[in-house]
């Protein structure tokens, strides 16, 4: 980008131009940067208005309660960067957690059951991928079918909440580990679930931003045809993004069930929309070709923090929560729109 600026601009770097030059290459990251700014702003506002936000235990709980959403959002980032969408993740969580908990209760080895929970997600992702790549079903419809299938199968298995036995290793993944013992209850607390989420984020960051597969994901989002003409492995990569998204949904089911201790067929209704919203807030374009793993993490935390603030406020009726979510989403996409319009000029 900067190489395209005219020599005269190079010769006379007046204050504004120099600033513009420094900002221009980072326009891609602006929505993500805005998400970070708004996240910090929300924390500052929360601290000023309600207090007890910038505290170890509040922030630890924010991570613990949103670990599953972070995992989902990371998975969706891959899919959305290719220009696709995955509506099935919420339903995959339902089928995977209900099936997993029922198997544990039926006497299966819990670790094997957990592995199976992830593999159920993998299977759903694979079927979506096959439908999309080899039968040219639109991603929206293919993953919608998988969403219906997952939800329906989960309802067939059970419509009652299935409890995980308290001594099960699955519960241990949701156990709170005190890292730092602060005064009163102000501790830094982590769960293995948070660590899993962190590992997922790190691995996804490496894969999407540092490997050939990651480059191909972006290339497909930019233009699938061009990517194919360049000889990039389009079919393989498109299959793998849906498999990644499905598997991560299965993993999110493990993390969420471990924290909650029970599973039900109505778990995860609408979470695909939360995850899409988190991804969009984090600066990923729904048209594909642009986005960041870390942005999606921030997006998920923005949504989580918003729930904390609404609970703390107490004056906002719970019915209005979705209105606020919608409003925040709108602000972010308008911002992206403004950035894109600027770049096109």
């Amino acid at each position: 980008m900067s190489t395209l600026t005219s020599p005269s601009a190079e010769a006379a770097p007046t204050g504004i131009r120099a600033l513009a030059k420094r900002v221009t290459p980072q326009l891609d990251t602006l929505p993500t940067a805005a998400a970070v700014v708004i996240f910090v702003g929300m924390i500052v506002y929360g601290e000023a208005a309600y207090g007890r936000i910038v505290q170890f235990n509040t922030l630890s709980n924010l991570l613990i309660n949103n670990a599953h959403l972070v995992i989902l959002a990371v998975g969706l980032t891959f899919v959305i960067v290719t220009g696709g969408i995955d509506l099935s993740v919420g339903a995959v969580i339902a089928i995977s957690s209900v099936a997993g908990v029922m198997l544990i209760n039926a006497g299966w080895n819990p670790w094997l059951a957990m592995l199976l929970m992830v593999l159920i997600g993998t299977a759903f992702g694979t079927v979506s991928g096959i439908l999309i790549q080899y039968f040219h079903v639109q991603p929206f419809i293919a993953t919608l079918a998988m969403m219906f299938l997952g939800r329906g199968l989960a309802s067939m298995l059970s419509t009652e909440p299935e409890r995980v036995p308290d001594d099960s290793p699955l519960r241990s993944l949701g156990e709170q580990l005190k890292i730092y013992d602060g005064p009163k209850v102000n501790d830094i607390v982590l769960t293995p679930g948070v660590l899993i989420a962190a590992a997922v984020v790190a691995a996804a960051f490496f894969m999407l931003h540092r490997t050939r597969t990651g480059r191909t994901v972006y290339a497909i989002g930019g233009s699938e045809q061009s990517a194919a003409l360049m000889g990039l492995p389009v079919a393989k990569t498109k299959m793998s993004v849906y498999i990644i998204s499905g598997s991560l949904a299965g993993l999110a089911a493990v993390v969420y069930t471990a924290r909650l201790g029970s599973a039900q067929n109505i778990t995860g209704i609408g979470w695909e929309l939360d995850a899409i919203a988190a991804t969009v807030i984090g600066g990923t374009l729904l048209t594909g070709g642009a986005g960041f793993v870390l942005g999606s993490v921030v997006g998920a935390l923005v949504l989580g923090l918003m729930n904390v603030l609404i609970t703390r406020d107490g004056g906002i009726p719970p019915e209005a929560t979705t209105i606020i979510t919608g409003g925040i989403l709108l602000v972010f996409v308008l911002l992206q729109r403004a950035v894109l319009a600027r770049r096109r000029e």
Partner: protein
């Protein structure tokens, strides 16, 4: 139709080549399954007041709201867009009408006032979608997602989180009444579908919508008023969703803020896709959307009739969608075509001509 002039055989062949043909086959199959379970399933009796009654009539009644939103969705999808907000618009319309009728006298006048309110509110929500898509230039998916999230919250705020009930005989009649022995809702929905179908196919309107869906820039260069058309389409979709909301709430005269219209946008999208309208935009088929809506209603009723828990219905929907998508996909069609070509040479030749 010119197809009729060529004789019934040709007309049938034309029907088979339509994408919604498989939808009709699926409806017939489902009815057949029901018939096997209960040989009297298709029986239609005439009730004491001269109204038709029976399972098929129930299916038509259940299909009415889906037909309405599917017709609206069809036009939106033709422009290359999508409207995720219809379910939420339905619940807002239901909430507004119930809140109004709760305190209004039980007269025909209040029914019409309620309907006017519904039109105003649903048109306003549709207009927000329209502005976001056509003026601001946001993606339809995300703009309507915003309204989808906000709309359900809005309905909850309107009713204070309660499931409001009301009494109004005329309003109730819309959903439960009969004209010519058929349910009013179905006749109204059919009227809308036929009206819209004639309007867009007998004028250039349909072509213009398809042009926008194919290539927005080319359409603009060809003189299509993209902004105004998109705006109209989203408002129209909103109003139809509002009426669907009236249908859904008037039958029980209660709005359930968390369940009315819930995920019905997905049913509408499915109906449209089953009918052969591509989500990529650029082509649409109103008849197909109506067939799709009837298929979804038939499927819902069948699953319940077979004694499967209604919460498991989505799994059957998934099977039907996957089956239809596979039948419509190029890869499977090619296999069929090759098999037919291997059987006899002549029909294969015709396929090539048709293609």
């Amino acid at each position: 139709m010119s197809a009729n002039a060529r004789g019934p055989v040709e007309a049938l062949k034309g029907l088979v080549r339509r994408q919604y043909f498989w939808g009709i086959v699926a409806v017939a199959l489902l009815l057949l399954v029901n018939l096997v379970k209960d040989p009297g399933y298709l029986a239609v009796s005439i009730g004491p007041s001269g109204n038709l009654a029976g399972n098929v009539i129930d299916i038509l009644r259940a299909a009415a709201p889906v037909i309405l939103i599917a017709v609206g969705m069809c036009l939106v999808v033709a422009t290359g867009g999508i409207d995720l907000s219809v379910g939420s618009v339905m619940v807002v319309a239901g909430a507004v009408s119930m809140e109004f009728l709760k305190d209004a006298p039980d007269t025909v006048g209040s029914t019409f006032t309620a309907l006017a309110l519904v039109i105003a509110v649903s048109a306003a929500l549709g207009a927000v979608n329209g502005v976001l898509v056509s003026v601001v230039g946001l993606q339809p998916f995300i703009s309507t997602l915003v309204i989808m999230l906000a709309g359900r919250g809005l309905a909850k705020v309107i009713t204070g989180g309660q499931n409001t009930a009301a009494t109004n005989e005329t309003f109730r009649w819309i959903a439960n009444g009969y004209v010519f022995g058929l349910p009013v809702v179905f006749l109204l929905a059919l009227l809308v579908a036929v009206g819209v179908g004639l309007l867009v196919r007998r004028s250039a309107l349909g072509l213009m919508l398809e042009a926008i869906g194919m290539d927005a820039k080319a359409a603009r260069l060809a003189g299509v008023n993209r902004r105004a058309l998109l705006f109209t389409v989203y408002i129209f979709g909103g109003v139809l969703a509002g009426f669907a909301g009236v249908f859904a709430t008037a039958s029980v005269m209660t709005v359930d803020v968390s369940r009315t219209g819930y995920q019905l946008e997905l049913d509408a999208i499915l109906a449209v896709v089953i009918g052969g309208t591509s989500l990529a935009g650029g082509k649409f088929n109103i008849t197909g959307a109506v067939v799709g809506a009837i298929l979804i209603a038939t499927l819902d009723k069948t699953v319940v009739f077979l004694g499967v828990s209604s919460s498991a219905t989505p799994a059957f929907k998934a099977i039907v969608i996957v089956a239809l998508c596979l039948l419509q996909s190029e890869r499977v069609r090619r296999v069929f075509r090759q098999r037919r070509a291997a059987g006899t040479a002549r029909p294969a030749e015709r396929e090539v001509v048709a293609a």
